[in-house]
Symmetry: C2
Subunit: 205 residues, 2 copies
Amino acid sequence: MSSGSDQQDIKREKILEAAYQRFLHYGYSKTTMNEIAGDLSLSKALLYYYFPDKSQLYTAVMRKLAGEYLDKLQNKLNKFTDLKEAFVSQINTQHDFIVKNYNFFDFFRLNEQNLPDTIWEIITEIHQAEMVLLSAAIQLEAEKGRIKPVNNPGEIVDLLLYALHGVRVSAVSHKKVMFPQKEHLDEIHAKRLLLVDIFVKGLMY
Amino acid sequence: MSSGSDQQDIKREKILEAAYQRFLHYGYSKTTMNEIAGDLSLSKALLYYYFPDKSQLYTAVMRKLAGEYLDKLQNKLNKFTDLKEAFVSQINTQHDFIVKNYNFFDFFRLNEQNLPDTIWEIITEIHQAEMVLLSAAIQLEAEKGRIKPVNNPGEIVDLLLYALHGVRVSAVSHKKVMFPQKEHLDEIHAKRLLLVDIFVKGLMY
DNA sequence: TTTTGATAATTTTGTTAAAATAGTCAGTTT
DNA sequence: AAACTGACTATTTTAACAAAATTATCAAAA
């Protein structure tokens, strides 16, 4: 990382920030490279000096957000006292993250099926980081004897994360896909808390 | 239902069957009304005598399938001995149903976002029927004192069904949407069994 | 009442041209 | 040399249109 000069890193950050604001307000497809350059009073060509193309600029922003998200998650998980608390932290942190950056993910809602591979890589990275953190939490809880011994914590975490992912808004607007509507986020959040509650009890003796 | 003559009903059934075969092999968009008519050596116009339009023909087939699915589910759920068994029945029956009719749902995979309302109505009907059956199972189990008393069984069933719905194939092919790939169905099925196992335990004392 | 051939209406597909935007590069500035 | 730009090219998106395929209708026949 950061093989360039400090000056370069600072400019890179500025571009990232300007791009983030644009993507957050207008989404990927309604943001042009010209506009981002204009916001910074730079030429478009300079953007290409710092980033190979538009999608990799978007990806870089996404990567930054992911880093911030994981940092926050890690901080919270450093001081959990029981497993449920750990899972709840995950849900809450993710909820806040989604709410805050909702419009940024327009890109996801539109492309749905065929997101670029780089995006999937980041999603996978996040998923794996969560796996590590939460698996450790399970392990610890098992060692303390508060839940049944688990031979494969990763499998359990994986299952829970996917189950949580599936918790979408109920019958009325059954028409759900991978990305929920903004109005439903709180309802989803509540359901997830309930699921975690039941799930954790299911892991106990 | 069936306000027409027996003859009419028989013909209707034949059309439904021919349409089902076509949809199963080629999916909705690659099936033309001419082809269905051709399979039965009828004129296309006759299809419109029996069904108002193509999408309602598809819907009628779907409705029939849904009926068969729910019948099977109801039969199994009539003789469950504990709650886990009931949930497992649901998973198994649904799994068989999806495997058998996989190609029929091409329509779903393609349209994804904007399925016609009639389709959503059927999905909602199925969901509600499942809710009734499984809620009753929970109620019964609670009365027998095998799980904690539940003030709102529907909420629990709803949660489980959505959680199960979210159980998709893991990290590698993270690229999943509402409809899983055929090769992954068995893996998903196994995960769902595990989830039900934990979930049911979580409902116990 | 059931069925059809002929025909109308609509949707899909393919073509093209224009506009918008992404992306490149020779050359200038610091 | 590193940071930067204006002018350029390449690619993608959009709109307009015609042709083809398909859905849907209907008057008349069986």
